[in-house]
């Protein structure tokens, strides 16, 4: 498998990362090297092997449906670029 420059642009779009033409060229070469390495997996017979999504086979815990975190609105909003009347202000991005 070899990625074309259009493939790289499509992947960058999927990842929501703007890329310049120079970056597309550099990324193409390095991603192709990486995927050549990844291709080594293909030759391995993994039929019947259970995928291992996590290092420990544990069930996610359940807890009481009760609020446990204290209200820390002020400290959380203290690091926001812009706040007014307890609300976050964000730039207009939709016309």
């Amino acid at each position: 498998m070899s990625l074309s420059q259009d493939d790289v642009r499509r992947i960058a779009r999927l990842a929501r990362i703007a890329v310049s033409d120079d970056e597309v060229v550099a990324s193409q070469s390095q991603l192709n090297q990486l995927f050549a390495l990844i291709e080594e997996m293909r030759a391995v017979d993994t039929d019947g092997i259970e995928p291992m999504a996590h290092a420990q086979d544990v069930m996610l815990r359940l807890r009481e449906d009760a609020a446990t975190a204290p209200n820390r609105r002020e400290s959380f909003q203290a690091v926001a670029p812009s706040v007014e009347n307890g609300l976050y202000l964000v730039p207009k991005v939709i016309e």
Binding site: A15, L31, L37, E50, A55, Q56, L60, I94
Partner: protein, 483 residues
């Protein structure tokens, strides 16, 4: 520089031979003299540290007997700590002051530690050299032309340079063990799930694990006692009974069975590293251990498996950095998609972008089974290899890295070559096992060499004891670099 261990500092404080203000003042002087060259720390708050030290001394005088009270500590810049900037080595978080603390930082605060600074790191913990930081590369204290290893390179360099006796690190594919090896210190990546990931900026959630970095195994055990523990706020935290990780430090090694995986000593291993590892193994034989040759047949597959799984998880975890909620936001205007794309193009470095793009691709429709599910199946084979090995031996030993620290910039044009350096460490993360690095010598270029010890699940105390016994009869861990 007179090297001090955590244990020496604890004992000196308890005996009234020193004060926290004196220890912190020494650390700050060492930092002021050398951090400009090493770039190991990205933030130091002398005023805050000295005030905390004075408070610790006052508390001790009033009868507070907490062991870590007033001991200087450095946190990797990945652990949120209320009031400290937590940048994770990224422009994306350059403006982020943590409004809450990670469980690890809370535990360290509760134990009485005084934080003197925040350690530089590869951006979002992605890297094996510490060259991928928005704040510039960290220099190896043993050779300032060389990398310190990554991603906890700032933590490792800080301990080696005497900025503090102990630092926190994280290890996703070797990021505690490899910089520990490159900087001549001791570090342990615990069993996945015993140190909380709450408040630790996520890279690859099923692999990331925090752990201690220090001069000695004894110090790592003392520090792990502080860091480890169940945390209900981390859904992957294991409900494992609280342990004392110092309990096996003096356990004899007679009868210990050490497995040497033949794949870890194959082509590609630097001859000087092989020599130092073999000498360490001989030392263990002299201490009463026996050697078993074992096989981890899927070792080579750890690299492709890791470089599918980690980027896949990274692409998901780092989707939160979109310019909307927090972190960097582009000044360029446009529609919503443009804003996302420009923000992320400006905020992330090259290595992070490469891994996010890789992750987006392997998770995309049509490739998910071929890459992501396949990698998870390989991960199972790798974990099975380790369990088959542990049927024959108590612990596994081998090199941490195939080479010693390389020069800064040397591998910039070839990121894949850097990925291949992780061949001996990645499998441990994929399987969720504990692994550690112990200093066992130096190459002819003066660069430190680390021995990797891999244990079965929850075998930290045993591993730390095995390392401690070696450090009782050798002095590699006592060597300090000329700064």
């Amino acid at each position: 520089m007179v090297m001090q261990t955590l244990k020496q500092q604890i004992d000196a404080l308890a005996a009234g031979q020193t004060t926290s203000v004196a220890l912190v003042t020494e650390c700050l002087a060492q930092i002021a003299a050398h951090n400009g060259q090493l770039n190991a720390l990205v933030a130091v708050d002398a005023e805050k540290a000295l005030a905390a030290a004075a408070a610790a001394d006052a508390a001790r005088a009033a009868g507070d007997t907490r062991a870590m009270l007033g001991v200087p500590l450095i946190h990797k810049d990945i652990f949120c700590h209320e009031g400290w900037k937590t940048s994770c080595g990224s422009k994306m978080l350059d403006n982020f002051i943590a409004p809450y603390s990670s469980q690890v930082a809370e535990n360290c605060d509760a134990a009485g530690f005084v934080v003197v600074g925040r350690a530089n790191m590869d951006e979002f913990a992605m890297g094996s050299s510490n060259e991928n930081s928005f704040y510039g590369p960290v220099k190896n204290p043993w050779d300032k032309k060389a990398v310190p290893g990554g991603s906890s390179g700032g933590s490792a360099a800080s301990v080696a340079a005497g900025f503090a006796a102990v630092a926190t690190g994280t290890d996703t594919g070797g990021s505690i063990r490899q910089p520990a090896a490159f900087c001549g210190i001791t570090g342990i990546k615990p069993t996945y799930g015993i140190v909380s990931r709450f408040g630790m900026v996520a890279y690859a959630s099923s692999l990331d694990q925090g752990g201690p970095m220090a001069h000695t195994a004894e110090d790592c055990a003392l520090m792990l006692n502080v860091m480890a523990g169940f945390d209900e706020r981390d859904s992957t935290s294991l409900e494992h009974a609280k342990e004392d990780y110092t309990r096996d430090l003096n356990a004899p090694l007679s009868g210990l069975k050490i497995g040497l995986p033949r794949e870890y000593f194959a082509e590609g291993l630097n001859a000087e590293i092989a020599g130092a590892i073999n000498a360490a193994v001989e030392q263990y034989k002299a201490l009463g251990a026996t050697i078993v040759e074992i096989s981890l047949p899927n070792t080579k597959l750890a690299i492709p498996s890791y470089y599918v799984i980690a980027p896949a998880e990274a692409s998901s975890n780092l989707s939160r950095f979109d310019g909307v909620r927090y972190g960097h936001r582009t000044a360029k205007t446009g529609n919503l998609d443009d804003m996302y794309e420009q923000t992320r193009a400006e905020g992330f470095g090259t290595e992070v972008k490469r891994r996010i793009m890789t992750g987006a691709y392997v998770l995309s429709h049509g490739y998910y089974d071929a890459y992501y599910i396949k990698a998870q199946k390989i991960r199972r084979l790798i974990a099975n290899d380790f369990q088959a090995a542990f049927a024959q031996c108590d612990v596994i030993m081998g090199p941490v890295t195939p080479t010693t620290a390389w020069n800064i910039g040397e591998k910039n044009a070839d990121p894949i070559a850097v990925y291949l350096e992780d061949i001996y460490t990645l499998g441990v993360n994929l399987a969720g096992l504990p692994g550690m690095s112990v200093p066992v010598g130096f190459a002819s270029n003066g660069h430190p060499i680390g021995l990797q010890i891999i244990g079965n699940y929850f075998a930290e105390a045993k591993m730390l004891g095995i390392a401690h016994q070696y450090q009782q009869v050798t002095d590699w861990h006592t060597k300090a670099p000329q700064l």
